[in-house]
């Protein structure tokens, strides 16, 4: 007989797992998506407002319930559509043929808050 039997270990494992889920640092989302064309920022999108719009590079973008996704694209392999919806910084949606990159602005990434011009 040991201190923990099989089911006790299961419970301990579950507790640790749930705890880890709540504690693990997650990339903070700013709720703002940035769309880059050829490396230059062409548009920022507030993910709080549901909308659809078309980019002149031939892509249709959907913003719904805080997530952004590509729903239509004229590129040959539609990988961008396959990337689905994103709402966290870290993994951008990329369309190489159209040179479009969509990423979620991270609250910590920029080295300035605002620009005076």
């Amino acid at each position: 007989m040991t201190l923990f039997e099989r089911y006790d270990w299961l419970i301990v494992f579950l507790i640790v797992f749930i705890f880890a889920l709540t504690i693990l640092p997650r990339g903070k989302s700013s709720g703002i998506a940035e769309i880059y064309y050829d490396g230059a920022l062409i548009r920022t999108v507030d993910l709080k407002n549901d909308t659809t719009f078309t980019l002149e590079q031939g892509m249709e973008i959907l913003v719904a319930s805080g997530r952004i996704s590509v729903i239509e694209s004229d590129c040959p392999d539609k990988i961008c559509i396959g990337q689905g919806e994103i709402d966290r910084p870290g993994i951008p949606i990329v369309c190489v043929p159209n040179k479009i990159l969509i990423k979620i602005r991270s609250t910590e990434s920029s080295d300035f808050d605002i620009v005076t011009q």
Partner: protein, 349 residues
């Protein structure tokens, strides 16, 4: 042997109950902690088009919903836009149409007085009477045709301008425009709107933090998360992108504004004609400055003195600016910098 085993199994049972007891207490404590812990401040952004530019309010508060604060700020900016934002309607149009006005409200008197004070302090480098000139060059509206006016046109427009031709009687709330001069509060209304919107937010929650950005004129509501400065980038005046930054400034409070020759301009024969006109010559200012940034206590002052500093340039007059509460950063044509004494304090983290 049997007895020992039995006793052991009993103690195992006890220790198990003990360990599960600890788990239970820990779980309860964690839940309580999560429940009662202060939620981290989250900034709420709202952007709307007012006063000819995009105005962004970023605000957080631990007492009042930031949505309500942003709403109050936008309402105030909308009010000022309706009152002072246009030359074709509102109070400025009225004054210009009649050449004089009496029974002005205190706010209008304050704005005209502020504009005249700054004009006097800068010896006309900031001048609220240059509308005819601005219109002549086509800088009055995005849709207007940009062109180099004839010399005679400029001379004529100069005769109808000059801040000294505005006579303000504060005690009688009366203003008179002499010799066909036109009043233009566009140069300070934007900054004033930011200041007033911040005052609105502070009235609802004095501890609120954030900033308001009206097309690069920035007023700080309060430090980031209550204790960190807002990091403000000065745009590279010859950069391709807004995100091309040449200087960083750290602001806990106060305001900052920048005037640059890249905002509105056209190029003829390789010469850049920009919208910041020199009241002495009627031509785009040629002081060697391509961007001027001013830190001040209010956005209205920062904006107006940034325009003035652009026109004055590195002339001796620039050394008077800190006297009026304006710290200056000039970027010259060769990208060299001039800083008022004290400006560097805001560039240290």
């Amino acid at each position: 042997m049997y007895r020992l085993s039995k006793r052991n199994s009993a103690s195992f049972l006890k220790s198990r109950i003990f360990i599960y007891g600890i788990f239970f207490v820990a779980a309860a404590a964690t839940l309580l902690l999560l429940f009662f812990r202060n939620r981290p401040l989250e900034y709420y952004d709202r952007t709307e088009y007012y006063l000819g530019t995009y105005v962004t309010v970023r605000v957080a508060s631990s007492k009042v919903s930031p949505t309500i604060l942003a709403e109050a700020a936008m309402k105030e900016i909308e009010r000022i836009d309706e009152k002072f934002g246009s030359r074709s309607r509102g109070i400025v149009a009225e004054i210009n149409a009649n050449g004089e006005a009496s029974g002005l409200d205190r706010e209008t008197v304050f704005l005209i007085k502020s504009a005249l004070d700054i004009a006097r302090n800068t010896n006309g480098a900031f001048d609220p009477t240059l509308y005819s000139l601005t219109k002549l060059w086509g800088f009055d509206d995005v849709a207007s045709e940009k062109q180099i006016p004839l010399d005679v046109e400029i001379t004529a427009a100069l005769e109808n301008s000059g801040y000294s031709k505005i006579v303000l009687n504060e005690t009688e709330s009366h203003v008179r425009l002499m010799e066909g001069v036109m009043l233009d509060l566009g140069g300070i209304a934007k900054g004033y709107a930011v200041d007033m919107a911040i005052a609105r937010i502070k009235a609802l929650d004095p501890e609120a933090t954030g900033f308001i950005d009206a097309g690069g004129d920035i007023g700080v509501i309060g430090p980031k998360y209550g204790n960190r400065p807002w990091i403000i980038g000065v745009r590279n005046p010859r950069g391709e992108s807004v995100q091309d930054i040449v200087e960083y400034i750290y602001l806990y409070d106060g305001a900052i504004a920048t005037s640059g020759d890249y905002e509105r301009f056209f190029v003829v024969d390789g010469i850049r004609y920009h919208h910041i006109l020199d009241s002495k010559t009627g031509l785009p200012s040629r002081s060697g400055v391509i961007s001027s940034t001013v830190i001040s206590k209010s956005t209205m002052l920062a904006d107006a003195y940034a325009t003035a500093a652009f026109v004055i340039g590195k002339e001796p007059g620039i050394t008077f600016m800190p006297r009026y509460g304006a710290l200056v950063l000039l970027i010259m044509e060769d990208m060299s910098r001039y800083r008022s004494p004290g400006f560097e304090v805001y560039q240290q983290k």
